[in-house]
Symmetry: D2
Subunit: 315 residues, 4 copies
């Protein structure tokens, strides 16, 4: 990630702010506010604003449950209770805003989370930066055989080199042709004063999907956790996981108690189906149970055995 | 509005906070933060948190339109432009949280605005306060004859007194019976140690719709403006308009530039239908036009003539 | 539940329709279309429209996963897969619309599910029906001691009678006074031609929360399942569960394959936290584990032991 | 647009369905159900399901306004009233589902409308079709000078040819390289049995933004009208307008009364700001008014004069 002079200046300016407020603050998050945390080769994650902290969740829960919450003596106890019982609305009381730079094909996955507010850089108005994502060698994975949406072994040697060469070559050529069609360089300079450029809203269609875009993305804590649960998961595409992991760390700095509860009940937790429960009950009793008796599919059976360390039961 | 000792204490505590932050602040809103602004006889509006200010809208717009916004030199010019052209997403970048106390029948109107986060006091968990809305004499209006959902003349004398007597009497009796069924007073004291109380989730059904409830209500600036546009309008029910007017004032303190644009383009503006446009064009040309030629209904015609000061054209 | 003549007529008319369509249909749901299924003492649930069936989910999933779904040979296999892996969007492709009559205090719980479309009977425009919910004797439960939002034993004898007397008496008196203030009976007849009635939007505030209202409520299958998961749960308030159970049955008639998967993976399933997983692993291995070692709270521990039939481990 | 044999077969199958239903139907929409209406060079719009018709809107409105709507005698009168007064919820009672094939850069604009349900073809699971959008010569517009997001004159001759050559060449080369990296042709055949292909989720990043994708897109009538109002507007990008225009026509076939009201009050209507109103009032009175007196910006002033045919007042 290389920031432009302007960006570095902007960030400094923002970070030098020192305002007084009667609102609650999250000191650890304040420490990294506005900072551009690198993601992939040219991307970044910046927390640019936030509202509320762990106590805001507690405050809202206490208005809902009124005198009823007096029994739960600590904030931590209450937050864990809310998380365990899927009480959602108190977690909506915190809000965060990120500035994100990311490749377009990842932006397309990301935007499917609809409960967020977004302002994206518009290629109808402006020329996109000349930056494209090129995977590092260890992320150049082959298609998985067993999982249609997964990755298998890492490609090596000549084949890996060829892939990188293609990705780099095509991104550069299509970008150069983008400039040619616009009759304008990425820095704004006109190429040939004698002719008109193609409309930006058309020229952009020549860019490849690894071109970087950027946006402001704002959401509440509940929806952020829904996003992170899916995107920080090991089944998520590596490239979006990089972002999710960084954001997970910002959640830890922002609402540390909620973060712990989230890791315990959501991220580290497991769901067991009605049939799966019957299997576990038998195993606990020390009884024998076979996949045929369980009514589970092979895939379900194996997922269950993996989750509960019964490797010898894998079929 | 009478706050309890605990509430007064809480507000003092909250207002005495003095935190440092690198976030933007809205100084005029900070001045009234946490304050309980009275609404109706027992209700209030409190701003308890916020995120962003006018510059946040501009910042987001500039990331969207990139270098394209350099031409619009001032923040004010840009905000007006966004408002005029219904650019919605930049206004979603600001967020505000209110603590509201309001009668249940108004809460039922309010909640129809779905794009907000809400934590309401739960009468399953706790006993509701012994407070009900009683309209002041000048708000005791008769049913409008011409408008099925409107109010007509103010009721007077004996009839007004009778209405108030009914409202007060029924609210008090049903509340007393609520306590009797709960076997518990509003202050938590048990009435008769020898018997069990009815479940709170059942007993509450005996309360009248003017009983006060309270909630935390959080929304973004765009959706807040949508709410205010409808609820601060002269066609809105008086009781919700009281809240909307107070909130409109908090918007002015929070994002003054956006407030001005909102008043000019939304609140003070008018929509003219395709047929209505043709009528206005003729009037501007000094031509004659009749309701028959216009294709407008009587109601539409009159609304248009009212809006453009052609009282002599009313039919 | 007693329908008016007009309603009975309307339902007959609607049910006598016999249209041709190229859309998919759900024959078992067609059988009960428009029918008023009784709920509580005066309420009902009616399915009044729907879109899609199990094959619509499959169709959408197959466009998403393209050639990738050929491997999953059956529709049932695919729907189970989607449910198990929390693929949400294909389930959003089905839509259903209900006409519901329900008490206001239940409507207030219900409306908190925001992802639905609602048109409620407006008491600003019209007079509400003279119908209020009175619990049957076996549903008159005392407040639970252990669970602040739950019910305990059923009230009996004199106390139960007294509660019913209060509920009935207060509902009737407040309704009579509602009519008096309106100067109009529920059937529309004017009481005293010589005086004006109070505006409907005000008079309604005198009604108790067990008064019935009605609405059209439309949602997609995913959000319906979210609703049912919470509201058909044993922790939900009995009065809303009655509605949820009826609706669950309509889901079975509409999308039978999805219904089965929903019951297995959602309704009958359990979530196990990260710490809970460790406990289960030890139990499966036949090792001893105590609540202290587990890091679980007493409540969590007991919930886990209940779920997995280790009653002797309850503390 | 060229459909594959499979697609043609599928459409025939779907269209040959002839089911009985008690639901309302929209006969004119039934006529074109499932049909692939061509859009751009390889795209299409297909209506694949719908729920409700004009009478569904009326039905919901009548439950809301109860006996209050008896006065409005006709369905048409009621729908116009609802549209004029921005009553939104009755229009949410109709739902429609489209199958759309469109270029990725247009899909990225489209998806910003969040209140819809979407299942997109996933390039993690499957190989994208070898189809890219190439503008026809008359749509190859230069960048507008005056409007940063608009188009100016059409490019001609050699320059146009060069642009088309670039777009075609780059799309084909990047697609060929996509196949090379996947080690698989678009028809599924393996290129070199001896080596592994790059994971699909990575290889796709090499494609250009004019590559076609497809999705099922489902929304309610209110949100569809919001979409169409913006995207069928003359300021929308031509390529998305092509889709919006086709969809506008499907709305006409589906809910003809609502369509007329929409065209009159929304599409053909104008908004006039508070300051703009004062200007129009003066013009109607025959008084002089200058831009300086008006308080309007030059752009606002000109927009107003354009809208009301005062070309001689343009500045």
């Amino acid at each position: 990630m290389k920031l432009t002079k302007d960006q570095i200046e902007d960030i400094k300016d923002q970070q030098s702010q020192n305002n007084q407020t009667k609102r609650v603050t999250a000191p650890k998050l304040e420490n990294i506010l506005y900072e551009a945390i690198p993601a992939l080769d040219h991307g970044f994650v910046r927390v640019v604003d936030y509202m509320g902290d762990d106590t805001s969740i507690v405050q809202s829960a206490r208005v809902s449950y009124g005198k009823g919450t007096k029994k739960v003596s600590t904030d931590e106890g209450l937050i864990k209770y809310l998380m365990r019982h899927w009480h959602s609305t108190p977690f909506e009381m915190c809000e965060i805003k990120y500035h994100i730079k990311l490749p377009i094909f990842i932006a397309r996955q990301w935007i499917r989370h609809r409960t967020a507010n977004v302002n994206e850089y518009s290629a109808r108005y402006s020329i996109l930066d000349k930056e494209f994502y090129l995977p590092s060698q260890e992320n150049l994975a082959a298609q998985s055989i067993s999982n249609r949406q997964g990755r298998g072994d890492v490609l090596k040697g000549e084949q890996a080199e060829k892939v990188l060469e293609i990705l780099k070559g095509d991104a550069e050529r299509t970008y150069d042709n983008y400039e040619t069609m616009l009759n304008q360089k990425f820095d704004g300079s006109i190429i040939d004063e004698g002719r008109k450029g193609l409309a930006r809203e058309l020229a952009r269609m020549n860019l490849t999907l690894n071109t970087y875009t950027q946006w402001y993305w704002k959401t509440d804590l509940l929806n952020l956790m829904n996003f992170l649960r899916l995107r920080a998961d090991s089944h998520a595409q590596y490239e979006i996981r990089v972002y999710a992991d960084i954001m997970l760390d910002t959640v830890k700095k922002w609402v540390p108690i909620t973060y712990e509860a989230f890791m315990d009940y959501r991220v580290g937790g497991t769901e067991v189906s009605s049939k799966g429960k019957e299997v576990l009950k038998k195993l606990i009793k020390g009884e024998k149970i076979s996949i045929e008796q369980s009514g589970l599919s092979k895939r379900e059976w194996n997922e269950l055995m993996e989750a509960f360390d019964k490797k010898d039961y894998l079929v």
